[in-house]
């Protein structure tokens, strides 16, 4: 169980793996996530499922190298097994025919956006997808998203591909053009989601965001993933991961995400000294 069947590098620091997890694959619904541990001393980290294949009994994970666990994952080869994968967790995306749905994925956020886009598309919505990244090399899964969207707009911050600018500018463009939008779904780095909500709030567009707070158990037992939505404390793992973006306190989320910055660096430096860590290319040299 939890064996890696396929693995590829999607871009600098971004990886994708297809993993054997038949029970999770068949129970999973769009928007849900899993919690994994790479090895017996590993931490528990949540990752949204990017895709699944019920017949083959697999789930697909996409991750960006940030801390010791994600770097560790990058050193795992086809045939290796994860120590633990627990899921599906969290509430599934509420899918219904809204009309026109704009899905916005920033950077790695495109991966969790994919199953939601697919679900929205299958439910009969007109789906406009906006996929953005800092630069062309960091764009991922654009082809996959394109296949399940009615329209696809790609943007890069540096203009190296598609529209030159941020995803928020693309959204603003759609609004300015008078596109009738019934729902916005935004997944990406917290500053991006906050900026998207800034735009959609002015246009009065209902906006769903998927949050990625720090978690431990993922079943509502520990409360590490506390977020504030409409002034109320909610647990990201069981009340989310999706929330009404217009009501989320993003500043609090950013502060809470930075809680373990120090120890994370220690763990990463520690990992760099291990045989596995030696295989990794770290920004600024290995």
């Amino acid at each position: 169980m939890f064996e890696i069947l396929e693995k590829e590098r999607l871009g600098p620091g971004v990886n994708r793996a297809v993993i054997s997890a038949p029970e999770i694959a068949s129970a999973h619904r769009p928007g849900q996530f899993i919690i994994l541990r790479t090895h017996s001393e590993g931490e528990r980290i949540p990752l949204t499922v990017a895709d699944k294949d019920v017949e083959k009994g697999t789930i697909t994970l996409v991750w960006q190298e940030v801390g010791s666990t994600t770097y560790y994952m990058s050193t795992m080869c086809v045939g290796e097994k994860f120590q633990d994968i627990c899921g599906p967790l969290g509430k599934p995306t509420h899918l219904e025919k809204f009309g026109t749905v704009v899905g916005i994925g920033g950077g790695i956020g495109v991966a969790p956006l994919y199953p939601i886009t697919k679900g929205m598309h299958d439910t009969g919505n007109h789906v406009i997808s906006i996929v953005g990244a800092r630069t062309k090399g960091l764009l991922i899964m654009t082809e996959d998203i394109g296949k399940v969207s009615d329209e696809l707009i790609i943007s890069t911050d540096d203009g190296s591909f598609g529209v030159h600018g941020f995803v928020t500018q693309v959204l603003q463009g759609l609004i300015d053009k008078g596109t009738k939008i019934d729902l916005v779904v935004a997944i990406g780095p917290v500053p991006m989601m906050k900026a998207v909500v800034g735009v959609s709030r002015k246009a009065n567009l209902p906006t769903v965001v998927s949050l990625n707070p720090i978690m431990v158990d993922g079943t509502g037992m520990c409360g590490a993933c506390r977020v504030e939505v409409a002034g109320k404390t909610m647990f990201g793992c069981v009340d989310g991961p999706e929330f009404d973006g217009l009501q989320v306190d993003f500043d609090l989320l950013m502060k809470r995400l930075a809680m373990y910055k120090g120890p994370e660096l220690i763990a990463l430096n520690n990992f760099r000294e291990t045989p596995r860590g030696c295989q990794c290319t770290f920004p600024g040299g290995s």
Partner: protein
């Protein structure tokens, strides 16, 4: 005074034998077990204090009705392994119960030796621990024969004390049992909540292995209510019955300003990081936990004591328990309070936190407190803490652990069709049988009663097992 008047000296009574423990200064900085357990001679001495009552009242004090005089009699004879098996007839987890049961308010409170208050009761719990450890360490490999398979199968939600006890009781009777656990390790609160220094993980593992050897199957990383519902277990997996022992896993907060600042933990999170995820070994283990300099714990129960003592061991300079009543009302076991004080935990009594103060980067830096006094008794009979107007204070702290209890985790109750719950979200179940509003579904432990003790959960597991056997017609 003439010699004649001196009465012949009575044979001196053997006092209750203390259990050796690590010295307080040393143990406050390590995660090894505090209590070291009896050696053979101490156990024999302590067992000799048991009167072998004809009508033993100690058994009535035991939620799982262990045949206490019988096992103590075997200790007296030096048959420690036999004594352990005598306990295991009623309790599959004696190494755990011997460590975490509040015996002073259960079996030992009913012991005739201690009845008149002149002498202390027989140390039943310490003897239980001794024989169970002895039997595990000197395992002779012999096991009582299990009943023939009945063809019945039962699914258990949660591998905590209730589920494990039920599994043990059923498997002995030839019922196939599969236990489903959400976390990656088995034991529930025994591995994520109760600290290593009170209940080593290796002990829990050995008890679980014993159940596995008896044929109990375990499935980890399995969140019932998400991957599969209880109804799925009955219909698709064809379980003849399901027992829900999912625990009280939803931490409560005070709902005061600042509770979402960095450095503020629920006791569940703090203990899970430290215990289950081995944050005390960081960075050898990957999971960190804030190693506070000045730590404050809210609450006065066993979990508050566990949190405070864990914080101390992680290297905190000052650990203060803030409690709104007095020492008298502390709900924690007196032994735990005593240990905490010995190790240097401070108590700030008759104080209630009103606000957690943070800095610009979102970290807790201080705490505002309100001074309280005791007023009239409330419904629970305890005197109610009342605000003393105008008497407030502020203390400096960087880590705050909220240990004020748990609500019911809604994941399992709400995903099970027509399962009756009360206004707090706890499953409604008969306390004598564990039967719920649904046929073929039993429940017990904290998900029914709200946060209680390990042994009460074990008791609930045992009662539900007996009810299941009765329902299935297995004798």
């Amino acid at each position: 005074m003439s010699d004649e008047q001196v009465k012949p000296a009575k044979k001196p009574k053997t006092p209750r034998q203390k259990m050796p423990e690590q010295n307080a200064i040393e143990r406050a900085h390590n995660f090894y077990e505090v209590a070291l357990g009896y050696e053979n001679d101490l156990a024999l001495l302590e067992a000799s204090r048991c009167l072998q009552c004809k009508k033993p009242s100690c058994i009535k004090g035991c939620p799982v009705e262990v045949d206490i005089p019988d096992f103590v009699q075997l200790v007296k004879k030096g048959d420690y392994i036999g004594a352990a098996w005598k306990i295991k007839e009623k309790n599959s987890l004696p190494r755990i119960a011997g460590r975490v049961c509040p015996q002073e308010s259960q079996c030992e409170s009913k012991c005739v030796v201690g009845a008149k208050g002149k002498n202390e009761p027989c140390a039943i719990g310490r003897l239980e621990r001794f024989v169970a450890d002895y039997a595990a360490i000197n395992d002779d490999g012999k096991r009582p024969a299990l009943a023939k398979p009945t063809g019945l199968k039962v699914g258990v939600v949660g591998s905590g004390p209730a589920g494990l006890t039920l599994a043990g009781a059923l498997v002995k009777k030839g019922v196939a049992v599969t236990v489903f656990e959400a976390l990656h390790e088995l034991g529930g609160v025994l591995v994520y909540g109760i600290p290593e220094f009170r209940l080593p993980k290796a002990i829990v593992r050995s008890e679980v292995d014993e159940l596995r050897n008896m044929g109990v199957e375990f499935k980890t990383n399995w969140v019932v209510g998400r991957i599969e519902t209880v109804d799925d277990m009955l219909e698709k997996r064809k379980f003849d019955g399901v027992f829900i022992g999912s625990g009280a896993g939803a931490p409560l907060f005070l709902k005061i300003p600042g509770e979402n600042l960095n450095g503020v933990y629920s006791a569940n999170e703090f203990l899970t990081r430290a215990n289950l995820m081995k944050a005390y070994k960081f960075p050898e283990s990957d999971t960190p936990v804030a190693k506070g300099r000045r730590v404050v714990v809210f609450g006065g129960g066993n979990v508050a004591m566990d949190s405070a003592r864990t914080a101390l061991r992680l290297g905190a300079e000052v650990v203060t328990i803030v409690y709104r009543r007095t020492m008298e009302e502390l709900p924690a076991r007196s032994e735990e309070v005593h240990h905490a004080i010995e190790e240097g935990v401070k108590f700030m009594l008759l104080h209630a936190p009103t606000e957690i103060v943070g800095n610009d980067s979102g970290w807790a830096v201080g705490l505002n407190l309100q001074k309280m006094q005791l007023g009239e008794p409330d419904a629970s009979g305890r005197r109610r803490p009342v605000v003393i107007p105008g008497e407030t204070s502020t203390i400096e702290c960087d880590t705050i652990i909220v240990a004020i209890g748990n609500g019911a985790n809604p994941l399992v109750p709400t995903s099970t069709k027509n399962l009756e719950t009360n206004k707090w979200g706890n499953i409604v179940a008969d306390l004598e049988t564990g039967r719920t509003s649904r046929d073929r579904i039993w429940a017990g432990g904290d998900i029914v009663t709200g946060a209680a003790t390990v042994i009460l959960a074990m008791g609930a597991g045992r009662k539900a097992a007996l009810s299941m056997l009765d329902t299935f017609g297995v004798s």
